[in-house]
Every structure is written in structure tokens, then in C-alpha cells.
């Protein structure tokens, strides 16, 4: 009974205390006790896999237990372990197959039978394990073909439970490396399921078909009549499963019908979760396969109106982006002029929304309204026969409705502003301005105010809201290179060169009389613009043209810059490149301040000239921003409006950017699927009455479809590359920063921080013979022997671990065995779950001379604690043909453990501050009966530092790189060594304890 409790509720902290007891119970004579013990261990494995890894061989023993119950219990552990790492247990395949054979063959005691089927759940469990093991592995799969065949044959009794087994069998057969005979049999099985009159079996059949169809779409053709029947089935669950199936086989030809069916279902269903799910799928299909614009728009409208406000925010965003880029029709308008296709799409969209708005009292979901207002705002001018006034009136009436949320109102207002920019003068706009300028909601007032000012200055407005700029302004120069000219100019005028933020802080700390730079320029700028909001003319702008003109121009200018930066910064912040932003802000502010200072100091600056210069620098890059800059100097009244609009626009930009990235990801995911769909597939629903003619037609369309898809995919790839490149540059930037900061820190004090190996070192090649040896500077450090990782005819790869004080240095030697030089050899480490490679995970050897060895070094840290992990990578090079060499390195926890020196006093303090502790008693062998002997073993083998020994107690300390301490307290009593670990990290003591046990057992 206690064991049952253990396996149900158990705190992980208590495991070490109970574990030995349970291990004892594994040898108990009663099967039920053994079984419970295994179950308890399974629970332990679930909550703390680290703590039971030393008893893996005991699991094996349980697997071979003479009692079936114990064996069955151990299967749960294996299923879990194999799920996590299938490659480690391939050797057990044979055992599992034998067990399954015995079970299927009825070798178990009769009481395991359930309705005369031998241990069905056990069979299912085994089949699942086999499926995991045989996945993508022909050799392992080979072993199980026989037994799977037998299971299929045996399970022919007409009972529910045998169907369950069959289902699992089919799934396994389609998961492992395929064998045609078995596939045939499995397909027949599925046929039986689908055709069964029993509804539960039908469901199972559909589910199996959905799974199978991803490998073999032809199967769907065989069952198409049944599928269509299921589609009209009264049971919504069956319907839903069928739709899921159809979703997987959608292509360009059948999309219209399938989406129609989905929409029908969508209208009927009420459950929110199902709606969200389905809406996402429809939108995805519509975007991917839309046959024409009209249909696409209509479908999307239906999605928004039915889906209402629960639709995922990405869907409207994607939709708008597609509209803006006119991408939908690219595939279908190849014959036509591209631009024309875009416009048609847009015109159609505008018309459909106008039609929707015609209906006076219709209630639309907020999302749809938002989409509507955006489209109308952007593209309504494409339609010449509708008076903008009419549209404005409609939007106006929408604004007055109470059901519209504030977010939607903001969208509508933006649309109104855009339309107003294109019409000369509108009564509705004036009315609207009047009405809302005393609105209670601040944002509305703000919008109206902006609108008002823009209306007063039409020229500016036209420039500021260029038509169809929604995609154009997405190009944002990430590196702000358009400001390089300005920076250079600043330098030329004697300004200090740009220094990274932290360096400046450093300076500031060291010398009080530092430059009067402005780290908080941002807040200053915003205060200026906020004073603009209130409508007062800001003092700086008033003084324009007076004696202090230089100053004011500078201030004003700074404002533009900061605003601009704000835009950029927001973009980056959203994507997670915050470290960069700081520098950038600093970069812009500093030279200006310096320039400003110098101007004040007496240099006569000609403000208009300065202004135009700056404008010129900026102009090529961003029209809109240029506009912003110049307006700040020209129109005093429009100042507030413009600066605000600048902000508003950045936010839309941000949103577009984000949606784009999402989209890219979506497409990435989808492209595989698209590939599969394109490979070979005939239309399904269109061809219910199949005839020869159709088949012929199919062939053609199929070919065309395939080519279209491939071009699409190329495009997608291109799109995907861009963010990556951006990311890379961001990374580089960060890297160089960290290096800079490091050098400056080192100059000041001796604080130890992590030191990436200078990359110059990597490049220095040791022109030694083929047997690699460590470079001199590393030889003095402790290091492992040089081991060979892998080799082929041309290359051999060697590895040496160097344990430096602050990291694990992996030195990889590549030796060229051929007589010709190899160039562009690429070494790439794959991303590993547990490890983190400092700097970049790849390295390129520019050239490796004939019969010589090159080496490179990588610093590695342990990111997630594990006792042992594998870091794998590959080597690519070009000789006669592209060659690819894979290798893997096993790294253990000990590679990352370093002694930590401290005094007994420090130890005491630290001990009290740490919370995670683990205690364990281990037996001491006779060779190390004294405490000091035991501690010495630990010190030598585990690189622990002995802090102190007091009587029969000893304290040790170590740290996991980079700086996670772990303290150990040892005490001996009667042949036992009591270990007590404490660390701020919970997994570390477990891992160390395991190492200690291993070491003590070995010695």
C-alpha cells in the first residue's frame, strides 16, 4: 500500500531517502511488490529523471522479470525513455519483439486475457514502443515485420478490443520504415474500419486514414465515397474528423469545395475552441490555394463574420498583408500584368466591404470592422465611381455606434484620415472633427486633433500619407546606415567618435568632467513633443531664426532623430534585439550633442544649410521620415500633429513587420506540407464521377501545380532568409560590444568575466604533421587526450577537451590527408538542448593545406544540467563533390565542474543562503575507509575543492561553469559516507550525487 502511495504523490526532495528502500523491493519475492516498486520508480523517473539514472540496469532486469505484470510495469518507463531518446534503446528492440510475440502467441497465463484476447493493453503498449523505435530506421524495422504481421493476423476476432489493437498496429506499420506487404494489409484493415457500420469504428478508421494519408494520399481515393458519406454524417464528431482528413488532402483544385464544407460546419458549431481551430485552418487553406481573388475575399469575409472576435490576431494581419502586397493573385495572375491583378483584388475587396456596410443595422465583429476600415482607408480611391464622401459618412456612422470598441475606433479614425488626405474638402470630416474634439476619450481627441491639423495643410498631408505606401515603408534600414553620412560629418567637425554605451558609462565613472552627453535624450524629446500635443507652440520652435538659432535647430533636429529612432527601436524591441537599441540611441544622441556643444561654443552654424544637409542625408532612405523632418522645421502649427502621426505610423509599421514574420514562419511550416501535396495528387471531390477524361486532365493540372508550388517555395525561402540575416547582424553587434566592454573592464580592474577565445587564435594555424597536438598556450592547461571523432578518405577529425578555468574548450583538429589543399571547410555544431556554444556554433577554415592539420576552438557551457549529453555537429567541404561528415561529442557534467576556492567562513555563509539540498548515504569501500582518503578521491576525480576537514566531517566546494556554486558536506560514520549537497540550482546536486556514487563505487 505504501508503494502505491509513493507512486501517486511524492515530493522530489524525498526521493534520495526512499530510493534505496525501493531498490531493495525490486528483489522481493512477491510479484505484486516488485510491480509496485517498478511503478514507484516510474513515478520517480517522471518527476526527476536525473535521480534514477544509475539504476537503468535494474529496469532492464524488471523487463526480463519472470512475471508478466512486472514486465508490463517496466514498459511504461521504457516508453517514456524511448520517447525522449529512441536511439539509446535500439538494442532492446529484439526483447520487445520477443515479448510481443509471446503475448500474441498466447503464452501468458489465462487470467491476463480480456474477452479471450491476450493482454490487449500490453500489446498496444508494445506496439507503441516498437513504432517509436522503428521510426526512420530500416534496420530496426526489419526486426519487427514478422511480429506485426502476426499481430494483424491474430487480431481477427470481432471485438472492440481487437480493433483497438489493429488500430495501433496500423499506426505502427505506417510509422516505421515501410514494407509494401504490410502496408497493403494495413490499408485493407483501414478499409474494414471505415466501412464498418459501427460508428466508433468508423471514427477510428477516419483517424487512421488521416494519419496514413500523409504518407500515401492514394488511399483516400479508394475510400472517397465513404469519406463523402461521412461528411454528411449526422454526428458532428465524425464530420469534424472527416474535415480534418480533408484538410490534409487539400490542393488547388478541391480547395473551394473543402473550404465550403468547413464553413458550413463552422456555422453550425458553437464551441469556441473548435471555431478557433477551424478558422485557422480555413484561413490557411484560403491563403495557400485560393483559386481567384473574389473567392478569397469572400471566404475571408465569411471567416471574419462567423469567427467573430475569437479568431487568432494573426489571421487578419496576414490577410491585410496579403492585400497590401497583392501576393494572393501572383500565382494566378502570371499571365496578366501583376499590378493590375493587385488592383483588381483590392477593388473587389473595397466593393465587398462597401456592400457589407450598406446594410444599416448589421452587427459585425470588431475584427471584421477593423479589416474593413483598413481596406477602405487604403484602397477606396481605386474605385472612381463612389464618392469618398459616401464612404466617410459610413465610417462616421460606424464611429457613433456604441458597440464599437476603442481599438476599432482607432482603426476607423486612421481610415478617415487616409481618405481625407485624398479628398479636397469634406463636410463630413469637418463635422467629425467638431463632434469628437470634445470626446471624453483622449485618444479620440488626439486623432481628431491630428486630423484637423493635417486638413489645414494639404500639401503636407499628401506627402505624409502617400497612396499605397503600406508595403513600401516596411523597408527599414536596420543598421541605420543612412545616418552614417551624418555621423561622418559630425566627426569631421571635431565631434568625439561614437563609443558604446557602457564604455561611456565607464568613462563617466572614472572622470567626472566627462562630456555633457545626453543619455536620456529620449525623455527630453518626448517632453518636447508632448508640449506640442497640447497645442502650445514650443519655445524652441518659436525662437527659430533668432540668435540662438543654432541651438534651436539642433534641438528640433534632435527631436526628429529621436522620434525616428523610436520607430526603429520599437521594431527591434519587438523582435528581441534590445541590446542593440541602446547603442543606437546612444550613437545618435552623442554626436549631436557634441555638435550642438561645438555650435554653442562659437562656431557659426547656418541653420537652414544645416537643415537641408541633414534632409539630404536622410532623403534617399525614407520618404516618410524625411517628410517628418522637414515639416518639423516648416510648419509651426502642424508640429504637434506630425510628430504624433509619426508615432502612430511607427506602430502600424511594427505591427506589419510582426505579421510578416509570423507569416514567414507559417509558410515555413506549411511548405513541407505543400511539397507533399504537390507531389502527386488528383482532385478528390471534383472527380466523384471518375472518368477517363478527368484523369487525363488531372495529369496536366498536377504538373502545373507542382511547378507552381516549387516556385512558391523558393520565394518563401527567400523571405525566410531575411530575418535570419538581420538576426545575425544583431548578434555580431552584440558580440563585438561584449568584447569591447570586456577589454575596458579589464583595463580598470581584475574582475573575472568570461573571456571568449580570441578569434584570432582560431585562425592561427599550426602547421604540424598529421597527428594533431595542442598549441603551446593550451598545453599547460589540463586537457584530455586527443581522440579521433570520425574520418573519411580525405579528412580526419580529432577532438581534445581543454578544461580552462572558465569554460570547457573544445579543440577540434581537422587533418587533411589528401595531397591537395582543401578550401572552405565548414564546421558546424548543432544546437543542443543542454549545451551552449559561446560565439557562433560554426567555424570556417578558409583553407587547409595538403597533409596538414588545422584547428579551431569553441567554448562550451552547460545550459541545462544533465549528467551526460551529446553535442553533435557536421563538417562540410567541397572536394570533387560536396562531402558531409557527421560527428558527435559526449560531454559529461564533470567537464563543466571546477573547484571553487573559498574559506570556511564563506562556506558557512553560502551554505545558509542556499536552499536546494540533497542528502544521501553511500557505502565506503575498504580502500578508502578514512574520510581524507574518500575526500581525496572526490577531489581528484570530480575536481572538488576541499575547503576544510574537521574531525570526521569535511566540506567541499565546486562550481558549475559559468558560476553556479555547489557545496558538499561529508561525514563518515560506521563505514558510511553521508553526503549533503546544497546549491542554488536544483538539478546540480542530483547530478553531482550520481557522479559521487559512481566514483566511490569505482575506487
Amino acid at each position: 500500500m505504501a508503494l502505491t502511495i509513493v507512486s501517486q504523490i511524492f515530493p522530489r526532495e524525498m526521493i534520495p531517502a526512499v530510493l534505496p528502500l525501493i531498490e531493495d523491493k525490486l528483489q522481493h519475492s512477491k510479484e505484486i511488490i516488485r510491480r509496485k516498486a517498478v511503478q514507484a520508480l516510474y513515478k520517480f523517473y517522471l518527476i526527476a529523471p536525473n535521480q534514477v539514472q544509475h539504476i537503468h540496469d535494474k529496469f532492464r532486469k524488471a523487463l526480463c522479470d519472470r512475471d508478466a505484470g512486472v514486465m508490463a510495469a517496466s514498459l511504461h518507463i521504457y516508453l517514456q525513455m524511448i520517447k525522449e531518446n529512441s536511439s539509446g534503446y535500439k538494442d532492446l528492440t529484439g526483447s520487445f519483439v520477443t515479448i510481443l510475440k509471446q503475448v500474441v502467441g498466447g503464452k501468458l497465463p489465462i487470467d491476463f486475457n480480456y474477452h479471450s484476447v491476450p493482454a490487449p493493453w500490453l500489446q498496444i503498449q508494445l506496439l507503441r514502443i516498437l513504432g517509436l523505435l522503428g521510426k526512420n530506421d530500416p534496420r530496426t524495422s526489419e526486426l519487427m515485420y514478422d511480429v506485426l504481421d502476426e499481430s494483424l493476423r491474430r487480431a481477427e476476432i470481432n471485438h472492440n478490443i481487437t480493433y483497438a489493437i489493429l488500430f495501433e498496429c496500423v499506426q505502427t506499420i505506417y510509422t516505421i520504415h515501410p514494407k509494401s506487404e504490410l502496408l497493403e494489409k494495413a490499408a485493407k484493415c483501414i478499409g474494414k474500419f471505415v466501412l464498418s457500420p459501427k460508428i466508433n469504428l468508423k471514427y477510428l478508421g477516419l483517424k487512421a486514414l488521416t494519419y496514413v494519408i500523409q504518407q500515401d494520399p492514394n488511399l483516400a481515393l479508394q475510400h472517397q465515397m465513404t469519406i463523402i458519406e461521412c461528411l454528411d454524417h449526422p454526428d458532428p464528431i465524425i464530420k469534424r474528423e472527416t474535415l480534418e482528413l480533408l484538410y490534409r488532402i487539400t490542393n488547388g483544385q478541391n480547395v473551394v469545395v473543402i473550404v465550403q464544407k468547413m464553413l458550413d460546419y463552422l456555422k453550425e458549431s458553437k464551441e469556441e475552441y473548435a471555431i478557433i481551430n477551424l478558422v485557422g485552418k480555413i484561413a490557411e487553406l484560403a491563403e495557400k490555394y485560393a483559386p481567384d481573388d473574389e473567392w478569397f475575399i469572400q471566404t475571408m469575409n465569411a471567416v471574419f463574420s462567423v469567427g467573430g472576435d475569437v479568431v487568432h490576431p494573426d489571421i487578419p494581419n496576414n490577410f491585410l498583408r496579403l492585400l497590401a502586397e497583392g501576393k494572393v493573385c501572383i500565382v494566378f495572375c502570371l499571365g496578366f500584368d501583376d499590378g493590375k491583378g493587385d488592383d483588381q483584388l483590392r477593388i473587389y475587396a473595397v466593393q465587398s466591404y462597401l456592400a457589407l456596410l450598406e446594410e444599416e443595422d448589421a452587427l459585425y465583429p470588431q475584427k471584421l470592422l477593423q479589416v474593413m476600415s483598413w481596406v477602405l482607408g487604403e484602397y477606396s480611391s481605386l474605385i472612381t465611381d463612389v464618392d469618398p464622401e459616401v464612404i466617410l459618412t459610413k465610417l462616421h456612422s460606424l464611429l457613433k455606434k456604441t458597440c464599437v470598441t476603442s481599438e476599432t475606433k482607432a482603426w476607423i479614425m486612421a481610415a478617415v484620415t487616409k481618405i481625407a488626405s485624398r479628398t479636397s474638402c469634406s463636410k463630413t470630416v469637418d463635422k467629425l472633427i467638431q463632434e469628437f474634439s470634445n470626446s471624453l476619450e483622449t485618444y479620440m481627441r488626439q486623432y481628431v486633433f491630428e486630423l484637423k491639423h493635417l486638413c489645414e495643410n494639404k500639401v503636407l498631408m499628401k506627402k505624409f500619407l502617400p497612396f499605397d505606401a503600406s508595403c513600401n515603408d516596411m523597408v527599414v534600414d536596420a543598421s541605420l546606415s543612412f545616418l552614417d553620412g551624418f555621423v561622418a560629418e559630425g566627426l569631421g567637425r571635431g565631434a568625439a567618435p561614437y563609443k558604446p554605451h557602457h564604455q561611456r558609462q565607464e568613462e563617466k565613472l572614472s572622470q567626472e568632467k566627462a562630456l555633457n552627453f545626453e543619455p536620456y535624450g529620449l525623455s527630453f524629446a518626448s517632453s518636447v513633443s508632448s508640449s506640442g500635443i497640447t497645442g502650445r507652440q514650443s519655445p524652441t520652435v518659436l525662437s527659430f531664426g533668432s540668435d540662438t538659432s543654432g541651438n534651436s535647430a539642433e534641438t528640433g533636429h534632435k527631436e526628429t532623430n529621436t522620434l525616428k529612432l523610436e520607430g526603429v527601436r520599437k521594431l527591434w524591441g519587438k523582435e528581441g534585439y534590445l541590446p542593440k537599441k541602446e547603442n543606437k540611441v546612444g550613437k545618435e544622441n552623442e554626436p549631436q550633442t557634441v555638435a550642438c556643444g561645438s555650435l554653442l561654443a562659437g562656431q557659426v552654424g547656418d541653420p537652414p544649410a544645416l537643415r537641408s544637409e541633414q534632409v539630404a542625408i536622410l532623403s534617399e532612405e525614407d520618404k516618410e521620415k524625411q517628410q517628418l523632418a522637414s515639416t518639423l522645421f516648416i510648419g509651426l502649427g502642424s508640429n504637434a500633429g506630425v510628430s504624433l502621426m509619426g508615432k502612430a505610423d511607427t506602430s502600424t509599421q511594427k505591427f506589419k513587420r510582426k505579421s510578416k514574420i509570423n507569416e514567414t514562419q507559417n509558410i515555413e511550416e506549411a511548405s513541407d506540407f505543400q511539397n507533399a501535396a504537390a507531389s502527386d495528387f488528383g482532385p478528390l471531390l471534383d472527380t466523384v464521377p471518375i472518368n477517363m477524361e478527368d484523369c487525363e486532365g488531372n495529369l496536366h493540372t498536377r504538373l502545373r501545380k507542382a511547378s507552381l508550388c516549387s516556385s512558391d517555395i523558393v520565394e518563401d525561402n527567400l523571405a525566410f532568409e531575411t530575418p535570419q540575416a538581420l538576426k545575425k547582424s544583431g548578434l555580431d553587434q552584440r558580440l563585438s560590444d561584449s568584447r569591447l566592454s570586456q577589454s575596458s573592464l579589464f583595463a580598470d580592474s581584475n574582475i573575472e568575466i568570461f573571456q571568449p577565445p580570441p578569434s584570432a587564435q582560431c585562425e592561427s594555424a599550426s602547421k604540424t604533421p598529421l597527428v594533431p597536438s595542442l598549441p603551446e598556450e593550451l598545453k599547460e592547461l589540463t586537457h584530455s587526450e586527443v581522440v579521433e571523432l570520425c574520418q573519411n578518405d580525405a579528412l580526419a577529425l580529432y577532438l581534445c577537451k581543454v578544461w580552462t578555468d572558465d569554460s570547457l574548450l573544445l579543440t577540434v583538429f581537422v587533418s587533411n590527408k589528401t595531397i591537395s589543399a582543401l578550401s572552405a571547410v565548414n564546421l558546424v555544431f548543432e544546437e543542443a538542448e543542454h549545451f551552449q556554444i559561446l560565439e557562433s556554433p560554426s567555424y570556417q577554415f578558409p583553407v587547409i593545406e595538403a597533409r596538414s592539420v588545422e584547428h579551431c576552438q569553441k567554448c562550451v557551457w552547460m545550459d541545462k544540467i544533465c549528467t551526460q549529453g551529446v553535442l553533435s555537429g557536421s563538417l562540410n567541404f567541397q572536394s570533387e563533390m560536396e562531402t558531409h561528415l557527421e560527428f558527435s561529442v559526449t560531454l559529461s557534467l564533470l567537464d563543466f565542474i571546477r573547484p571553487m576556492e573559498m574559506t570556511t567562513e564563506d562556506f558557512g555563509n553560502l551554505w545558509l543562503s542556499l536552499s536546494n539540498d540533497v542528502k544521501q548515504n553511500i557505502k565506503m569501500s575498504s580502500s578508502q575507509d578514512s574520510l581524507s582518503a574518500a575526500l581525496n578521491t572526490l577531489q581528484q576525480k570530480l575536481k572538488l575543492h576541499i575547503v576544510d576537514i574537521i574531525g570526521n566531517e569535511g566540506i567541499l566546494a565546486c562550481q558549475l561553469l559559468p558560476s553556479v556554486p555547489c557545496l558538499l558536506h561529508c561525514r563518515t560514520h560506521s563505514g558510511m559516507l553521508a553526503l549533503w549537497f546544497r546549491s542554488p540550482c536544483s538539478a546540480l546536486p542530483d547530478g553531482l550525487l550520481y557522479q559521487c556514487q559512481k566514483v566511490m563505487e569505482e575506487s
Binding site: 505484486i32 483497438a164 460508428i199 466508433n200
Partner: protein, 140 residues
Amino acid sequence: MIKFFLMVNKQGQTRLSRYYEHVEINKRAMLEAEVIKNCLSRSKDQCSFIEYKDFKLVYRQYAALFVVVGINETENEMAVYELIHNFVEVLDKYFSRVIMFNLDRVHIILDEMVLNGCIVETNRSRILAPLFVLDKVVES
């Protein structure tokens, strides 16, 4: 994996519930109510598997009693469907048709069969073995 195991009567009252994944106590009642509503609304000729939110429900009706099991994607519906029947057969054997008076016993049986969301024992005699021992202790 099995997420929860419910026994409900036709009036929608929960007779037994066991969760294998943490669900907040106050959310349990709501979840149960919705699950039951879903099951009750279905007729006999409809499929016994329901997709509900991100998991699936497998239910089986015995006279006025519903047994509902919530499972995730990886579980085999039919196997669970039969597990329910197996469970009922075991109850039947132990209680000989008087079920709901000894709720603790039902719990013990269930715990023998399902553990941490896994089916661990389906052998009828073995499921009941510990219970018989327990009964003997009580008697003596």
C-alpha cells in the same frame, strides 16, 4: 495519456472523479459540468468519442451511469473505451451489482488500474488481489 476519470449519473452529479493532471479545484466543477453536458446531449447511435477543447473524451453509458475519461492525442480511443468496460467488469465482480456504497473501494480499484495517467493493470484477479487482502484484515 489519461487526463481524468469521471463517473457521473444521468442527473449530472459526479459520483467519482480522479485527475491525473493538475486541475484547479474550482475549475474542476466547471469542467465536469461541461463534460457531462457534452456527453448527455449525445444519442446512443452517435460516436462515443468527443473532441473537447484540446483533448478527447471517451464515454460509455451503463444504465443511468456514465463513465467519462479524458485523454490526450496520443492515447488509443478504442483501448480506453474497452478499459472502461474492463473497469466496470471488475467493479461488477467485486461488488456484485451494488456499486456506489463503497467509494473508497472503487478508488482503490481505479488506482490499481490507472496510475499517473497510464493503464498499469488490466488483469482482473490481480486488480482485486490487494482488496481481498484488505478485506481479510478488516474481518479478522
